[in-house]
Every structure is written in C-alpha cells, then in structure tokens.
Symmetry: C2
C-alpha cells in the first residue's frame, strides 16, 4: 500500500532513513506491503521541495548525498521555496518523519512541526529528544484527538528496541523499574580504565580521538546525556512527571582508575547507571556511577554498547542490549516507527 | 472488545495464563480493550466443559487450582463430556490457547488441535514446541489460507521476547545470525564450576536439588533441549529447513572444572552456545560449549538466565536476556500472543 511521507530534516538521520528505503525497497513492499511516496522534504539549511506525485527516492538521495541543495534537485513539477510548516500543511501526507536537530531547551522547531502535523491528521515518527522531553503530554493529547500516531523509538537507544518492546512484546506487564547503561562514551572510558588501567584523562582523550566524545565532553562525562534519557523513561514508561532538577546526577569525572581497580579487586565493576523506579505513586530517578556485581546483566555490557533492564511483574527482568547510536541504526529507528504506523493505520 | 477463547490443556501453563487474566482483568480491558470470554476448556486428565455465554474465570480458576476436575465445575448450562476436538469444533471461539503437553516425536495431540482450530477459522496461541518444530510449514499454510493467526512466542525463551521482537521491533532487518544461551540448567552448572570451582557432578547434583535439572539430566547436559530451540530459530527465523540430525551437538558433560578454570585464566568463559547462521542459501546450526571472550554480551549471562543475540544488517547486534522458563513467565508468553492476535484481528 502506498503511504505518503514527508521528511523534515535531511541530515545524517534523514539520509540514513532514505538509504534504507532505497536499499530495502523490495522487501518493504513484498513482505510488509509498504510503498513509500516521498511527497516533500524540507531542511533548514538545504531548502525544500514538494511534489504531490512523489520524488524519485534513489535519485533524490544521490543528489543530497553528493551535497546538492534540496531545492536544486531537478524534477518536473517540484515546488520549491516553501517553509517547513508550509510543507507540512500543503503536502497532504500520511506520515511526517521529523529528524531536525535537537534543541533540548525549547524543543523547537521540531515541536511546532509536530503540532502542525497532528493538526493536519498526519502521524509522526521522530528521533528528536527535544519535544519528547519537553512537550510530550500536549503532543500525545493532540495526536489522540486527531486519531493519529506519535512514535519515537529512537529517542533513547537509537535502533535498539525500547518503546516498541514495551508496546508489542511486554504489554500487560507492570513496569516497576528501569535501569540501564545509557551513554556509550562513559561506558567505553570506564572499560579502558578497568581493563587497561588507563587514567581518566587518557581514556577521555582516546574517546575523543575515536569520535565517541565531543571536544567538550561535559554532556557525556557529567551524566547530562544519560539524565535526558532516564528522564524520558521515567515519564514515558513509569508515568512520572519529573523535571531535570528532580533527577540526582553524578558523572564519572570523580571516578579514578584506582576506584575502578579497587572495585575490580572486589569482583565488582563501575558503570554509569541511569535508574528510575516507582515508589508508591512517585517515581525516583538518578544517574550515577554504581559498583555492580558481575552477576548483574548490565555489568557485562562492554564498549560503547547501551543496555536497559526492565523489571516487570509477569516477565521478570528483561534486558535488551545493542548500539545506542549510529547513522543506519538511527535511520532504522525511524523505519520501524514508520512500519508500525503503516501497520496500524 | 469481547474475544471468545478456548483453553486446551489446563496444567501449569494454562492455569498461569488464567491467573494473569484474573489478576489483570481491569488493565486488559481498560488499556488494551481486551475482554476474554472463556467458552471452553478441555484437558486430557481433568475433563472438559463448554459454555457459550462464558465461564466465570475467577471461580473456574479457583476450582481447578484446588484440584477440582473440569467437568465437575458447577455452572448452569455447562456442557461436559466433549473431547478436545469436539470442543474446538463446537465452541465457535476466536482464539484457541493450546498448552497441552509437548510430544517432540509426533507433535500430537497438539498438532491435531491446531489443524482443527485453523479449519474452524480460529487463531492459535501456543507454547507447545512439538507442532512448531514438526508441523510448522503445514500449520502456517493452513492458518494463512483461513486468514487467522498462528503465534508461539513462548516456544524458545518462554516470556522473554523472541518472535514478537523480530516482528514488531526489528522488522525490515535481515537476520544473518542467531546465537544464544538457550538452556538455564547448563548455564547454572558452568557458573558454579567457574565461580566456586565445583566439580561437574556436584554442580549437576545441586541443579537437581534446586529443581533446575531432571533426575535424568540428559536433555539438558547433552544439549538436546538447546538443540530443539536452535532448530526452531534456524527454520523459523533464518528460513532454514534443518532436521535435528543436521545440527552439530556437543553437550557439557565433557567439560571439566579444570577446563573451565583454564578458560577463566585466559580471560574467557565457557558457555553452552546454540548458534545458527546463514551461509549463502544454507543455514548451519550447532550446539556446543564455546569459550567466549568476556566482551561477548553472552559471557555476562548468569545463573539460569537465557539470552539471544541477533546479528542484523540495520540494527547491528541486538541481545535480549531474561528468564527462559517459569509458570507466570510462560503464562505471559500466551498472554502476549493473545493480545497481539486481539490487536490484529
């Protein structure tokens, strides 16, 4: 079945998603009955294009992969010059893929795009943490009122299943507690400090050299990145109503190689753990370094992998582990949301 | 929405499923729109009952939990004395829950129950390995022809997601390889041999004492149980057409404590690994003890836990870990299948 899509944001994730649509065209059509019609693309830096009959996806992708501007893509009948909001309003699409940059202070412009999409009775697939953190309740309400879907699998662990796992594989369970390794950079650093006895500053330098950490590593090493993720899990999975200031946050910058080695000699292992649990009607959340016994499933999570353990009432403890980032993985997070929207439309 | 169910087999798993229906009645109705109407129950040892208006599930469950025979459950208008096949044919149900005992040689009587259910245009939820191993293709074909669903989440890892994970969370991926810890008993024994230096025979005796291993432990320690599971994964997930004799099988009875300790001193860990992978158009599968590097996600799987790693083309390596057995966990496996049937009916 043909589904009309618009893509708002055409950077790494948007292109990763289009790459999958191209590479998997046959299997998506034959196995899942999904035939995408890309009716509009808009990007703040690269311009926009709209075409009601649909763009040729392989040639459009080749054009942007080669650095071409969107509004310079040669196609008959393509309308250029529309803003992102105009594109959403005019495109008459079924699904908006929203993968603009994340602004964690305001959620904009992604939040506005989503409000516009829902009012136009369009479902939304996104990996944008901003609106999912800041405007979640209003967005969910508006989506329900318009009888459309709001999906955001990729906001916590990228292509590793979290929200779809809960919805389709663990439905009926009461989720009591969530804990996990939510930041690959710090997990990599702690591993190097334990296995190779590296000093903190050398482990950080190596992580930066390998592209895991930014030049300013604060968001990773001080736990802000993990905090944003445990906050979403607290509110979206456990039904909390927490703000960032409600979450206890301790980074790994106070952990020395000798702390890590001491833990090792006790048969334990330091991990930066995001943790949220229901206590009566409240939800309590934290991000901090924890000395785990080696028997904990999270103790065995190595390198830059991420993992989450859900404590449930019927299924016991379920742990999922996988990559927490990556162009194709995040593109896949969009794809699975789009496929589930398609399935349930 | 009301859904008419029949339950064929009313032992541990069947009762575990009914227990969840009772305990979760409100959430199943309010959150998932699912209202079960139990129109028939049949068990080889305990008799059968059919009632078109539905049995009162809480009092029926209390009756069987106290050891009562099914056909002695006092209810007005209940029809007793029907065979399981007659129950399936007469009940006019939407969904059959098939949880009779597993016969891995013939698949019977479960296979017959399933053929009858599909011919009566009923969807099937089961945890029975027999028919899923032996009659899978015929069953799947018949279900498709009758436009009903065939679900069997619990056959490999009980309540830990496998097939639903692939269907709803990893759709669009090509699954290239599956490997896992598929037997909790041997995993427990190897852990005791490594951590406490126990001899094989003492670890086995402890596993038997704790109820993890049978008096005849052959199925566990010689790898037959794990073989049945990797065979299902080979054929159902990777599209193979393997028979048990096609799977290389080595148990753990040849592994000594000194082997385990030697591996430990090399920074490795013995695990009994079920492994299946695509090689061109073929699927190659094995069950055997493998010395894993500690960086492998499966190396950190402790105690009686089970785990599976899927190697995928888009999502990278995804590992899921959880319990591989248990009354409530297996009851949950039935529930999630029933809920997904309900969702997609």
């Amino acid at each position: 079945m043909k589904r009309r899509l618009i893509l708002i944001g055409c950077g790494v994730v948007g292109q990763g998603f289009l790459r999958i649509l191209v590479d998997k065209e046959e299997v998506l059509r034959d196995k899942y009955g999904f035939e995408p019609v890309l009716v509009g693309v808009s990007d703040m830096l690269k311009g926009s294009i709209m075409k009601q009959e649909g763009l040729d996806i392989p040639s459009f992708l080749a054009h942007v992969e080669e650095g071409g501007k969107i509004d310079e893509f040669p196609t008959e009948g393509g309308v250029t010059g529309l803003s992102s909001v105009e594109t959403i309003r005019e495109a008459e699409a079924d699904i908006m893929v929203e993968v603009t940059y994340t602004d964690i202070e305001t959620g904009e412009p992604a939040a506005t795009h989503m409000f516009e999409a829902f009012m136009s009775r369009m479902s939304v697939a996104t990996t944008n943490k901003g609106p999912v953190t800041l405007q979640f309740e209003e967005l969910r309400k508006l989506a329900r009122e318009n009888n459309v879907q709001f999906r955001f699998e990729g906001v916590v662990l990228s292509g590793t299943p979290v929200f779809n796992l809960l919805e389709y594989c663990l439905a009926g369970n009461d989720i009591i507690e969530v804990k996990g390794i939510l930041n690959g950079t710090t997990n990599f650093m702690l591993m190097k400090m334990e296995e190779e006895g590296m000093f903190y500053r050398d482990a950080l330098a190596l992580a930066q050299e390998l592209g895991y950490a930014e030049a300013d590593p604060t968001a990773d090493v001080e736990g802000f990145d993990a905090l944003a993720k445990i906050l979403m899990l607290s509110n979206l999975v456990l039904g909390g109503d927490l703000k960032p200031r409600d979450v206890e946050r301790v980074g790994i910058s106070g952990i020395s190689t000798s702390d890590v080695q001491m833990a090792k000699s006790e048969g334990k292992r330091y991990k930066l753990i995001g943790h949220a649990r229901k206590v009566g009607r409240r939800v309590i959340a934290s991000v901090k370094p924890v000395k785990l016994p080696l028997s904990d499933p999270l103790a065995g999570v190595n390198g830059t992998a991420n993992a989450l353990t859900f404590k449930t009432d019927l299924s016991g403890e379920i742990t999922i582990q996988g990559a927490g980032a990556g162009k194709i993985e995040t593109g896949f997070a969009v794809l699975i949301d789009v496929l589930n929207i398609h399935r349930e439309m």
